[in-house]
Amino acid sequence: MAKINKFRRGNIIFILIILMLLLAPLGISYFIISGQAQKVLRAFELSDEDGEARVIEITASQFQFNPNVIHVDLGEKIIFRVTSTDVMHGFYIDGKDVFAEVPPGETVEIGPLQFNQPGKFKIRCAITCGPLHPFMIADLIVEPDYTLFVFVALTVLTAITVLLYVKTKGREDRILGINRKVKIDVLKRVRIIGPLLKRVLQWRGIHFVLILPNLLFFMLIFATGFFGNPTGNKNFSIAVVWILWFALIEFMIIFASRTWCTMCPLPAVGEWIARRRFIGVHNVRKWFSLNKKWPKSLDNMWIGALSFLVMSLMILWLVTRPVVSAILFLILIVMGTVLYLIVPARHFCRSICPAGAYIGYHSNESIFEVRSRSKAICDAHPGKECIRGSPKGYGCPWKLYPGGNQENTYCGQCYECLKNCPLDNMTIKARMIGEDLPEKAIRTKNNYDESWMGFIRFSLVIFYTLAFFGPYWFLKDWGNMGNAYGANLASINLLTPTMGGFQKWLNWALLVSFVALIAFPAIFYGFSWLARKAAKVKDIPTKDMFGAYSYVLAPFGLTLWIGFAITLILVNWAYPVNAFSDPFGWGWNLFGFKFDWYPIFPHLIPFIQLPLILLGLALAINFTYIISLKFFNGRKPAFRSTAVMTVLYTGSALLFVYLIG
């Protein structure tokens, strides 16, 4: 009885913390925006309400505004005088009802506009002016920037609160007050949906039925990518993949782990050929394949992590040039197929695929898992159909022992084990975020592939935010190799890099790689060393603490990526939606809709992102504490090392807060 009460209390605390994290920034934003705040803040206003408007001169050119960071005073009246030095551009300010056209060579006056909400806003180009148009952005900072001040204070406050929480109440089995060990057997315990889901997942056709529509979309991606409109945001292959899909994946990880891999068409073709079947089970031992073994040295996440990094080094071309995206997916689908015909298992997905690598890495934060009901039953069962296969299904194509599996990383959710198990011991469970993360972090010794995946993902969300939504043109220019042209297959020659362009890209590539592969890990190692000193323990090497702590970047990074995904959707939703009606960007209108581009609540985006950052920060601190408890078996040293690491996490969070707020 007492136990249940405790569990409930834990739940309530958790829900309160979450609510607080979500509501505080929203409340504050409302306060700032509403007239109430104006009265309070009026005292600080420097300029005269009726005074003359200040003129700010801006030049617009492909694909930048100059100056790209503009400071104005709270309450000040501004007239923007915008001149285009090349093609037609647009002018839009977050939260203002302004859509201006700036014709080539002309100067347009916009305003006077008064800025009554403090904070950072984006000035965006509003007329597609070439491939990088969606990233043509300048920052407008309304000073004094109370919003940033409040954001910083909230971040520090969150860190301190969580630290106090772990110091007084922290327990190994509690994360932010909730019992992280509670799991729900969805297939058995959830009424109606559970049994229904079980029947669907045990149906042999389900895999195929999910893959087929995605294969259809991939064919459309190839067709549009190679032959459609050379401008990315008007082309299905870019708008749907890099805005809709890219964003949805981040959410899917949290709620459904690797569910994308259930329906992914990339390795499917090879799998079908090797099995000689689309749906049925056939001759499980004789594959249509060279039947080679995958080398042990490659059976990790190193290549996947690096391929995600390499993909990211090309990201500015990938998300703007349809033909580049089409080529990437062609390479992936060919590799997925060929590898399956050499080694008949999902090793492409385990070790090569860039998406598979990061989805797998973050999937341990999911509230979803495929596990055995009882590992003991599996261990004692000599049949092991989940490994060997049976007439009902294939042995695990991901080369796991499903019954004994303890982590999501390499479970591609193909549900063969659910079909195979004669003891009905496999199921889906709902659970707490990062339920098994600390155990995994401790278990994984002397393997740093996932640690570096963490550093890469964490660094890259910052670089993506800068490249997609930041004001600094030079960075985008570097990543873009100074090229101004969109391209499909027919105009691919326009992408021939110039010597200067290549040098620019080299800057970008070296900078990103240096931060992600060397600088950030080095700083992290330094803090781990300090944490070890602070904990005053001798018998645990720094490298083990470094390796284990690095896993907290998984939940932390994921929340940042979700924030990024939300921004992506809110700002650019119109492009993917229109791409369904006009996939080739040829002026079709298949479904009778075509939306004008406008961002949804752009001035509120930071207030949506902040709670996610704070949640990630809180999780990171708490997980560090749990991992430390497992290391040191003592609250004092665990707290001290957690406190040291918290400095680093808070610093990283503040960097991100500075970028968005």
């Binding site: 090349d86 093609v87 037609m88 056209e101 014709p103 080539p104 060579g105 007329i127 597609t128 002016c129 070439g130 148009h133 056709g205 195929f208 087929l212 294969l215 259809l216 991939f218 064919m219 459309l220 190839f222 067709a223 032959f227 409109n229 050379p230 401008t231 008007k234 079908w272 079947r277 689309f278 749906i279 049925g280 101004a484 042209y485 969109g486 391209a487 027919a490 105009s491 326009l494 229109n578 006009d582 996939p583 080739f584 960007g585 040829w586 002026g587 079709w588 298949l590």
Partner: protein, 136 residues
């Protein structure tokens, strides 16, 4: 036995469905159908000259017929203009933003060659973004 053959049937159906996804590559062929085949409406897609300029650069029309030019901007803001003394007034769609259509109606009374061009600066080779209409 019955079971096996029904299983096989599903494999065949699945295979056919997979092959059908390749039909996505035929979708571009539907262009004419989607955009309509009105003989007096001429659809011209405009890209910067570096990427090909106007996709129709040589057009034949009959004198005295009312022709509708439907210009679609692929990548930049372009426009469609004809400045020619033989026409009653200058033809100008005005700026057409990326992803937009712009239309203009013209009646060519005198046979001969007419030059059309883009009237909004769009790239280094903007000046070369032209095409020719032959009026029969």
């Amino acid at each position: 036995m019955v079971k096996t053959s029904s299983k096989l049937r599903w494999e065949v159906i699945a295979g056919v469905l997979v092959l059908l996804t390749l039909a996505m590559f035929l979708v571009p062929r539907l262009d004419g159908m989607v955009m309509g085949n009105d003989t007096n409406t001429i659809l011209i897609r405009a890209s910067i000259k570096e990427a090909g300029g106007f996709d129709k650069r040589s057009i034949e029309v009959n004198a005295g017929e009312k022709i509708t030019f439907d210009i679609y901007s692929m990548d930049m803001t372009h426009s469609f203009i004809i400045n020619d003394d033989r026409l009653e007034s200058d033809v100008d769609t005005g700026p057409i933003h990326t992803g937009e259509h712009g239309t203009v109606e013209v009646v060519f009374d005198e046979p001969g060659e007419y030059i059309f061009r883009c009237g909004v600066y769009c790239s280094d080779l903007h000046g070369a973004m032209t095409g020719k209409i032959t009026v029969l």
